[in-house]
């Protein structure tokens, strides 16, 4: 132990005097704080209106023209879909809810029905709000506000062939459009295989911050003015809806009531949307559980589905009671996203530092010749490796603490509450408070950072050359960490068979975002118990659980460390 301590002290001295460590430590804090400062500035100055002015100005004629032409295409496609559906046997269009349904029968038995929604509870509410907002904005700014409409379409490709030709590859099965406030925000094209989805996404040219500010402004105007009227209107709609059963009506009205309760001035648009979408889910699952059918006249729920849906319902209800995961409404999504981005910057820089350090730790000694001093010293070589690995762990921990502390400082500077974070584990919700939550989140995020460091360390012991080991480590990590790298591998081996589709689970990218996997899974862990994960239940899911990811990283890291020891202890120093 004494020797190990001595070696560790020496490594510490070396590390403290390494310029690259000092540079990165400064860079991590500086970049996070500068961005946080900018966030704070944005908040203080309130640039919402100027941005809105820019958006509403005539300068962007081309863009508006594109949006308009797309809208025209949408309109015509919509009309076409309407006509086709109505004309078709068993297809109908519900003007009240703006939804299209086609039912497929085999003999007289209903096989399944497909429904395209142009509208839902969200649509009515938002459209009403937006219409009000448009009028208010026109009044406030003295300009006519263009393109203030919200459109959400789900339909099938044969109805949308014109658009498909224009925008996406012809073999897409489904296409989703979302046009909000005239902004072509995004569309999602979904290509459907037998049981898997492959998603292409394109996000509009407007920056998120611009859109957010416009939305928030509009939403604020709506809620300040006449939110209760909107709810009353919706209540009337539900009551008068003859297509709804009593149970469905009850659920919809319950959802509406809770939604109204959640309607608060301090909520922003996105968080409100998130909350309301949860209610949508809640209502759907409740209806399904009560009827025992996936949809009216649709297939029965399996036992497993009943179990899972019950748990989901319970989770949502628990969340709503405790204010978890944005259910409570004090959830500022734009702050949270920026906050997450801040964390990612810190973590990303720290990861580069840890990789470079790992790659240098052994190689540097060999390159400078200082390895001779180490070998002549009366210490066994495995102790030298241990000391170096300990240093790697130390630096990783220091970085984690630094990122966490800077993040907390950033929250102070920018005046952000980076979100109210609640775990839902099984059927119980726990509130951690932002400090503890982000401490745990940051520590979890540094598990893969350390994993990468171990990889670089192994490369360092194998290559024994600083330039080479940095290049190989950073190159490998950046290649396998990017989704394009994974797609490349998957495309090379082919993704059509079950085995290769699930092969991606065993690729590093599927397991290295440990913090995301961990916290997502904790929130949504109602699907799988720990036992399920242990018993390889994860094989059936689309993604891995945190336990698997942790085991995956542990096994690989242990291998890296084993190779490092073998290479350092057994190989000759020529």
């Amino acid at each position: 132990m004494r020797k190990l301590k001595a070696l560790y002290q020496n490594e510490l001295i070396k590390a403290v005097k390494k310029p690259i460590i000092i540079v990165f430590i400064i860079l991590i804090s500086a970049s996070m704080l500068v961005i946080a400062g900018f966030m704070g500035l944005v908040r203080v100055v309130d640039v919402t209106l100027p941005l809105y002015d820019y958006y509403a100005s005539e300068e962007d004629a081309d863009y508006d023209e594109n949006v308009n032409s797309l809208k025209l295409s949408l309109d015509s496609a919509l009309a076409k879909m309407q006509a086709e559906l109505i004309s078709e046997e068993n297809g109908y269009y519900d003007e009240e809810t703006h939804s299209f349904t086609k039912k497929f029968y085999s003999d007289s038995e209903l096989l399944y029905s497909v429904t395209g929604n142009v509208s839902n509870i969200m649509y009515d509410l938002e459209n009403s709000c937006l219409q009000k907002a448009r009028a208010d904005l026109t009044k406030a700014t003295g300009r006519s506000v263009k393109n203030t409409m919200y459109f959400s379409v789900t339909a099938y490709d044969y109805l949308f062939s014109d658009l498909l030709d224009q925008i996406v590859s012809s073999d897409a099965n489904r296409i989703f459009f979302e046009i909000k406030d005239g902004l072509f925000e995004k569309y999602t094209v979904v290509k459907e295989f037998d049981d898997e989805f492959k998603t292409f996404e394109w996000i509009g040219t407007r920056s998120a911050i611009l859109e957010e500010s416009v939305y928030n402004r509009i939403y604020k105007l709506c809620t300040d003015n006449d939110a209760s009227a909107v709810f009353e209107y919706k209540r009337e709609l539900i009551n008068n809806d003859s297509s709804l059963s009593e149970k469905e009506k009850k659920n919809e009205l319950l959802s509406l009531d809770i939604m109204k309760d959640l309607y608060r001035d301090d909520m922003d648009y996105e968080s409100w949307r998130e909350v309301t979408s949860k209610f949508q889910m809640l209502a759907n699952y409740r209806t399904m559980l009560e009827t025992g059918e996936k949809s009216e006249g649709g297939p029965r729920l399996t036992e497993e589905e009943v179990k899972n849906y019950s748990l989901i319902v319970e989770e949502i209800e628990t969340g709503l009671r405790t204010g978890a995961n944005g259910y409570g409404g004090r959830y500022n999504s734009s702050d949270k996203q920026t906050g997450d981005a801040l964390l990612q910057i810190g973590i990303g820089l720290a990861q580069i530092l840890v990789i470079i350090l790992g790659a240098l730790l052994v190689a540097e000694d060999f390159q400078s010749g200082a390895i001779k001093t180490l070998i002549i010293a009366p210490v066994k070589r495995h102790r030298i490796v241990s000391a170096k690995l300990l240093l790697l762990v130390t630096v990783t921990l220091v970085c984690a603490i630094q990122v966490f502390v800077t993040y907390m400082l950033a929250a102070l500077i920018s005046g952000s509450d980076f979100g109210n974070n609640v775990f839902v584990i099984g059927q119980h919700a726990y509130s951690l408070g932002p400090v503890l939550y982000y401490l745990l989140y940051t520590l979890a995020a540094f598990v893969p950072v350390l994993f990468h460091g171990c990889f670089a360390f192994m490369i360092s012991t194998l290559i024994r050359n600083t330039g080479g080991s940095i290049a190989v480590s950073l190159g490998t990590v950046s290649m396998i960490s990017t989704s394009s790298g994974v797609s490349l591998i998957v495309n090379l081996v082919g993704s059509k068979t079950y085995f290769f589709r699930h092969l991606t689970k065993f690729l590093p990218t599927s397991n290295l975002s440990f913090q995301t996997i961990l916290f997502r899974s904790v929130v949504e862990s109602t699907d799988y118990s720990v036992m399920d994960i242990l018993t390889m239940r994860f094989m059936l899911g689309e993604t891995n659980g945190p336990l698997f990811a942790f085991l995956y990283m542990s096994v690989l890291a242990a291998t890296f460390i084993f190779i490092s020891y073998q290479s350092y202890v057994k190989r000759d120093v020529k």
Binding site: R2, K3, A6, L7, Q9, N10, I13, K14, K17, S368, G369, A370, K372, T373, I375, I376, A377, P378, V379, K380, K570, D572, V573, K574
Partner: protein
Amino acid sequence: MEYVLDVKNVTKYFGKRRILNGINLQVRPGEVMGFIGPNGAGKTTAIKVILGFLSDDGGEISICGLNVKADYEKAMGLVGGIVENPDMYKQFSGRLNLEMYARTHDNVPEGRIDEVTAMVGLENRINDKVKKYSLGMKQRLGLAMSMLHKPRLLILDEPTNGLDPAGIKELRDIILHLAHDEGVGVLISSHQLAEMQNLCDRASIIVNGDIVAEDTLDALNFRVNGEPTHTFDVDDPMASIKIINDFFAETEAEGARHSARCDASTGSVIAAVDSAKIPEIVRRLAFAGVNIYGVKASKSTLEDAFIAITGGGNTIA
């Protein structure tokens, strides 16, 4: 007798090539052992195997009776060394390098760093960064490092590289002091054969991975050049030869008796006598009326021995 270094039958392969062919090497306490051989003979490889840079492929190494494999840390704690060039952390000061190295040892007392620094004459520059050092200064620092923990065995690979003449002399004084006064066993490899001659008590010569000779310098000389001789510059060689041979007849037993001979080219008389017998011989020659112009000891060098042993495959086993 316990050797500070006892290398027994050590073999080393690089791939399929055998670099060390079962070498044996012993260093006694208080003795300076020269380790010499042509380039590529395996000197540095042998030193690296002893110091643990390279694993051996057979054989046994003990330091002060401790088996290196069984008692690595204890054994290596008794060794100090420089291999090839003394490379250290160049971005750090000489003192920090010494401090870091001292930490890995159990028994470096406080003040020892100043002591060794003064010993190698680096006290004025010890706080400078090593990257500002000249090669000679680095050698001094390396030497200071290797002496830091008062080792029982010092292994120095080409320690005079880059040293100026004063530095070489200081190094020699330090090594001789360590060996003869403090009883440290020293193994030095060097190409500076003249320097080695001044320094070494014994030498071991390695050729193609084999130790071909290991003995005191005198003994090595004897093997190559025979006994040491003296040359008598006289005006009457024949009379002189008779007088000297008579002297041999009186003082040496029959069978092991030397005889003087005449060097035909110079007309001098050459006889294998040691210095102690010179005054008596001179007295007898003078008494017999021979004029003596000079008496010179024939000096054969380690270099001669080295070349004779290693050169042209003329090896003495």
